[in-house]
């Protein structure tokens, strides 16, 4: 029964071409690693440890914060009501979760085992990687039963614990990547051994746990209504999207996937972002961290100045490309005015509200540049010009290839996850590439920012582009 159930669960969630691509990536990674082989001596120092630990923290934290379930509405109505053995059900669903989220880590196989020299070290690191993937998968499931404050608290605790590795603490789940293969493996195994059974238990009784808490988790009323009275058609679009940042759609960061709807006051986000940017200026410009340079392409960087634009760029691209249309209602908006005009103002308003997140960091980098940290100028240009322009292009591309899904019910996948949704990652990688180049060469930063702004502007002013997107979304089932 179990193999059949696993097959059913996988094929109802993921298309065959997508599963084929996943298999291809894994085989490719393994073969490439096998061909290249080890150098014979391990090298866990410097950049490798820094990035391997940073990536692991990113995956762990994102899974906890944005974890979601690969559950369909039909599961709730049919699969979960069938007289199946709970053990089989939970294993099948866990495998689906793994394929949907944890496997992202395995794609970074080559990167994570880069420090291993010998075959023995490689085997240990691969085992660590599989454990880490299981841990991330489990945390994504567990996050659904935790209240927001518990989720955030656990993310902070685990994040700081892992971060302590960089300060020389050996007993952490990621210390293997600094060469502490025994301690690191034991701790990671122990943490995973706690998380996986909890996740399996949760998946076995979804209808009593996550699905119920999903329905009850938030209050049913807003304390205060937004008022749109007395405003014109264009003004209300800005009024709506500048008041609140909407987190909607398939939030997919670091392999985690969830279908959520939430709104946060833009003013709150702006205040948090300003405070965080001020801390960033202090840590980067004045504290001991300022003297910790990173060398890329013979250029010296302060790591945070290099990493933060990439991290924020990814977040904004995901928010814009996945969130812009997934809460849109064509039957209301596109029938009220010309879709081209509506989408144009929708995109502009969302870009402006996204600047509430990245704008303060852009200004912070300008301040750093004035203080003499010239790479801050590149980072400011990336955050204030490149990322906003790129996010318009990414939103267009994702909608054009039909990879965006309309969220009609929270917590449930709107449909099968196919190759198109997987391909949405490509524009993001492309933009990350542009950001990295921009951060290394100021001239490139200026050229890329100007080019993206010109392309985004041209795209915005052509009505047929956005009417085409509206027709396409309708044909793909958007209502």
């Amino acid at each position: 029964m179990l193999p059949k159930l696993v097959k059913f669960v996988l094929l109802t969630r993921f298309s065959k071409p997508l599963l084929g691509l996943v298999a291809f990536f894994l085989i490719y990674d393994t073969v490439i690693r096998g061909v290249i082989g080890g150098t014979g001596s391990s090298n866990f120092s410097g950049g490798f440890a820094y990035y391997a630990i940073g990536s692991s923290i990113f995956f762990i934290v994102m899974s906890l914060l944005f974890g979601g379930l690969f559950i369909l509405k039909s599961d709730r109505d049919y699969l979960l009501t069938l007289p199946l053995r709970r053990r089989d059900l939970s294993i099948s669903l866990f495998i689906a979760q793994f394929v949907g989220s944890g496997i992202t880590i395995l794609f970074l196989y080559g990167f994570y085992v880069a420090g291993a020299g010998s075959l023995e070290d490689t085997i240990v690191l691969v085992a660590n990687l599989v454990l880490l993937a299981c841990l991330v998968t489990s945390l994504g499931v567990i996050s659904n039963i935790l209240q927001v404050w518990k989720r955030v608290g656990l993310a902070i605790v685990l994040g700081l614990w892992c971060l302590s590795t960089l300060l020389g603490f050996e007993f952490t789940p990621v210390s293997s990547f600094t060469g502490q293969l025994v301690y690191g493996s034991v701790v990671l195994f122990a943490v995973t051994a706690i998380a996986v059974p909890v996740a399996l238990r949760e998946l076995a009784y979804l209808e009593l746990g996550s699905i119920r808490s999903l329905l009850r988790s938030t209050s049913t009323e807003y304390k205060k209504n937004m008022s749109f009275s007395g405003k014109g058609p264009i003004r209300v679009i800005y009024s709506y999207h500048l008041s609140f940042l909407e987190l909607m759609g398939r939030v997919n960061i670091g392999g985690s996937t969830s279908y959520r709807t939430a709104r946060i006051k833009t003013s709150t986000v702006l205040v948090i972002s300003i405070v965080a940017a001020a801390v960033y200026v202090y840590l980067t410009g004045f504290s001991a961290l300022a003297g910790m340079p990173l060398t890329v392409a013979s250029e010296h960087f302060t790591p945070a100045v290099f990493v933060i634009p990439i991290f924020m760029g990814v977040i904004i691209l995901v928010l814009m490309s996945q969130g812009t249309f997934s809460n849109e209602r064509g039957w209301l908006a596109f029938t009220a005015m010309d879709p081209a005009m509506y989408i144009r103002h929708l995109l502009l308003s969302r870009v402006i509200s996204a600047l509430a997140i990245i704008g303060p960091f852009g200004v912070a980098n300008l301040i750093l540049a004035l203080l003499g940290l010239m790479t801050g100028l590149d980072a400011a240009l990336v955050l204030l010009v490149t990322v906003p322009s790129a996010s318009i292009l990414a939103t267009y591309l994702v909608a054009r290839i039909g990879a965006v899904q309309q969220v009609k019910e929270e917590g449930m996948m709107p449909g099968q996850f196919d190759l198109r949704q997987f391909l949405v990652i490509l524009p993001t990688y492309f933009v990350i590439g542009l950001i990295i180049v921009s951060e290394i060469f100021l001239t490139a930063a200026i050229v890329i920012a100007a080019a993206l702004t010109v392309v985004a502007t041209l795209l915005m002013i052509i009505p047929s582009v956005w009417r085409g997107i509206a027709y396409r979304l309708t044909q793909r089932g958007f209502v």
Binding site: F244, F334, T335, A470
Partner: protein, 237 residues
Amino acid sequence: MTSCIDVQYVSKSYGKTVALYDVSFSIPCGESYALLGPNGAGKSTTLRLLVGLLKPDTGTVRIDGHEPFSPEAKSALGYLPEDASPYRTLSVRENLEYIAALRGVKDVAEATDRFLDELALREYERAKVGKLSRGNMQKLSIALALVHKPKIVLLDEPLNYLDIPTQERVFKMLKGLESTMIVSTHIMSIATRLTEKVLMIARGKIVWNGTIDTLKGMEVGDESIESVVARLMTGAS
């Protein structure tokens, strides 16, 4: 009589699937039509073409003499799709105010209050739409389709999910509209109560066009109107 809806030789395909083929019909202003047809006949596609959410591959669509995506057509039309879902992150009142303002309604607050009272949504004014019951969501969707007093109303299964008292309230509201109306439905009692004429569609083609009275006149013996409709649809397919 002037046509409020004019469709001429319209075809629409999704890839290799032909949804509508060479469809033509006209609806004079002020008249109410039921759009009947089996599942997958092309009813929803027809409504989406009329409202400008889809573009025909061939043929022309005119709404009150204008292209469906023109501002004139947009302001004339009110559309309710099947299983409509309003903005989930907005409250009931915010949805109504947002769409009323987007449609350029002069007194947004008045229009909002009127629908909150008429459809008994007042107690859910601040409720998050994502947390509403399906019935209340349908009531809100009806209000959103009608908030700007449209001249032409296109409704796809408007009474789905509604309890009987609310159905009666909606019947009364729709009968009171002086709009041109197309109601797509599978339920003949809704068609007979809301409309006088029928447009029957099967496999992407118009197979019958006439009055409800004519349909009733086609009953043989104690045959019901549903049986007549089924006979016509099956005959077409």
